[in-house]
């Protein structure tokens, strides 16, 4: 058991810096998810914690040790890889036991620990099989078993579910969470899937282009994104983004709604979640829009509209509600509290309610 501290972590390949100074603290026993689009540096960050990449600048501490110069095996970590990275020539048992064998753990104890992990992961019938005789989900379990038997201070997961099909992914997601809870081991989990991040994380680090854009609990990040990038990345469908237009000193969105905030400069945008917008009769809302098309998904229907200013705006309505047809004119309303303002650089200003006189 240990906490992890990242202090101004930087990584360069040659002259190109890919991670530009990340500070974060992972509490003991916490499940933290690093989420971001591909190429944002999230895997690199994880691999620096694991010791598979050198740290160019800053300090990685696990527990109270600075581990920058330690080999992975000396860091008391275990890692689960995206493609499972099982040794193809070894049986499931040997795969799980290999790390312990190297660490010269006595045979009896290896057997006990592997059996225990196999029981926990329901892998007992497969201990003698080779990895290729297992399904994707089972291989993933073996990879987790290999991590568990080591009894590490920290679990590191590098997109462990991306190779599984959608249904299995949901199931394994729950299992990973439950397992981490049960073992109480600190976990750092990297994914590009924001749903995985939302459901697994105690706290998440949203990364973009080598920078931690926001660190916080999932719902906090969802409700209060600090940057436009986070607003767009977390949530599906993403937050609607409306450009503003400054007319005679007043910012206007959607071609009609005058934002009474005083500080909205040219180039700032308004963000609003699809579930925070409602449809009303044309002319009765803040501004009007034209319906492009509707996606009935059962529990909800997504109404894709286009404002008169030309921004697309998605409205999430109840699945049983009657939805408009393509070409209809509709009015849109939203609680001003739910309208989030971002400046031209994409940084959060405040909610409009704070700005209104």
């Amino acid at each position: 058991m240990a906490d992890i501290t990242l202090k101004d972590i930087r990584k360069s390949y040659g002259r190109t810096e890919v991670i530009h100074g990340i500070d974060a603290h992972v509490e003991d026993g916490e499940f933290i998810v690093i989420v971001g689009p591909s190429g944002c540096g999230k895997s690199t960050l994880l691999r620096m914690v694991a010791g598979l990449e050198t740290v160019t600048g800053g300090e990685v501490s696990i527990g109270d040790r600075v581990v920058n110069d330690l080999e992975p095996r000396e860091r008391d970590i275990a890692m689960v890889f995206q493609n499972y990275a099982l040794y193809p020539h070894m049986s499931v048992f040997d795969n799980m036991a290999y790390g312990l064998k190297i660490a010269n753990v006595p045979k009896e104890e290896i057997r006990a620990r592997v059996t225990e992990a196999a029981r926990m992961l329901e892998l007992e019938p497969y201990l003698d099989r080779k990895p290729r005789q297992l399904s994707g989900g089972q291989r993933q379990r073996v990879a987790m078993g290999r991590a568990i038997v080591r009894k590490p201070a920290v679990f590191l997961f590098d997109e462990p579910l991306s190779n599984l099909d959608a249904k299995l992914r949901v199931q394994m997601r729950l299992e990973i969470k439950a397992l981490q809870r049960r073992l109480g081991v600190t976990a750092v989990y990297v994914t590009h899937d924001q749903v995985e991040a939302m459901t697994l994380a105690d706290r998440m680090i949203v990364m973009n282009a080598g920078v931690a854009e926001q660190i916080g609990a999932p719902l906090e990040v969802y409700a209060n994104p600090q940057t436009l990038f986070v607003a767009g990345f977390i949530g599906s469908p993403p937050m609607n983004v409306l450009r503003t237009e400054v007319r005679d000193g007043t910012a206007v969105v959607g071609g009609g709604y005058e934002v009474r905030g005083r500080d909205l400069a040219t180039g700032s945008v308004i963000g609003v979640r699809p579930e925070h917008v409602n449809l009303v009769a044309a002319g009765a809302g803040l501004f009007d829009a034209t319906v492009d098309f509707c996606e009935p998904l059962g529990a909800e229907t997504l109404v894709h509209t286009r404002t008169d200013a030309g921004d697309s705006l998605v409205v999430r309505i109840d699945g049983e509600a009657v939805f408009p047809s393509t070409g209809d004119r509709v009015g849109l309303i939203a609680d001003p509290v739910r309208l989030l303002a971002f400046d031209a650089a994409g940084r959060r200003i405040a909610s409009l309610a704070d700005l209104s006189p």
């Binding site: 275990a78 890692m79 990275a85 099982l86 040794y87 193809p88 020539h89 290999y98 990895p131």
Partner: protein, 281 residues
């Protein structure tokens, strides 16, 4: 299911006839050699050549094995075996280790070394045989197993093959091993060697036959009949001058010389195919 075209009726007969014909053409000389090794000298030299085995099988093979011409065949077989195994094991060991170094370690001039090894592919034994002889002679390696094996022991082909194999092993596997605590030596022994076993088996077959069939180099480096290898020994059995050639004995020797490579192919092929089916990357 498979891409094979299904043939019926006359097609089956035609293809089989073609195969049988091909096999017959390839096997006939070997059969003749076998027949020649089972008859006596008189029967062989009076035309027409016999086409059915005679009754001197044991005599001829006994004479070949234990008397021979310059050296008994069993000794030459033993020499060949030592040389072929030495070359095979040496080539595999050296090339797998150099491929390991080239793929997994970052050191200065890594690519220079790789290209130097690669360039030697263009220089077969025959091209460099005179300087090699000079060096071997200077080191006092003539008429020794070391002299037979050492100059042939490096293999660019095998190094290249192992390099390509190692490049297909995913990096994550290497990293998993690192996290598990395996150092470079353990990784090599526990992970890389077992994962290469099918390639090792394939190379063993190819290189054993290569080593066994060496002719020019043993001819140069061994002058002492007790160091002769079987392939060059057959040639040595053909006397110069007026002596009578004991053809049945020579043929028996040829048959015996053919035996080990055939056995290696038969047994290793089994393992090789089995390994291929089992392997997965």
């Amino acid at each position: 299911m498979s891409g094979m075209v299904e043939r019926r009726g006359i097609g089956v007969w035609l293809t089989h006839a073609g195969l049988v014909l091909g096999i017959a053409i390839i096997c006939f000389p070997i059969y003749i050699a076998f027949v020649a090794s089972t008859v006596d000298q008189a029967a062989l030299v009076t035309p027409p050549m016999p086409l059915v085995p005679g009754g001197h099988f044991l005599d001829n093979y006994h004479e070949a094995l234990f008397v021979g011409a310059n050296a008994p065949v069993w000794l030459m077989l033993a020499n060949s075996m030592v040389m072929a195994l030495g070359i095979t094991v040496g080539k595999i060991a050296i090339s797998i280790i150099s491929a390991y170094a080239i793929v997994y370690f970052r050191f200065r001039f890594r690519m220079v070394f790789f290209w130097m090894i690669f360039l030697t592919l263009m220089l077969p034994v025959e091209v460099r045989i005179v300087p090699t002889y000079e060096v071997a002679a200077g080191l006092g390696l003539l008429n020794s197993y070391t002299g037979l094996i050492l100059p042939l022991i490096a293999s660019a082909t095998a190094t290249f093959l192992f390099r390509q194999l190692f490049l297909t092993i995913p990096d994550e596997l290497v990293e998993a091993a690192r996290v598990d605590g395996a150092g470079p030596v353990r990784f090599f022994i526990d992970i890389l060697l077992p994962m290469s076993r099918t390639n090792i088996a394939a190379l063993f077959v190819i290189l054993f036959i290569y080593g066994w069939n060496q002719y020019l180099w043993p001819l140069l480096v061994t002058t002492d009949p007790s160091m002769n290898t079987i392939v060059m020994g057959i040639k040595q059995m053909l006397p110069t001058g007026d002596e009578v050639v004991e053809w049945p004995v020579v043929m028996a020797t040829a048959m015996l010389a053919m035996l080990p490579p055939v056995l290696v192919v038969i047994f290793m092929q089994n393992l090789f195919v089995k390994g291929l089916v089992e392997s997965e990357k």
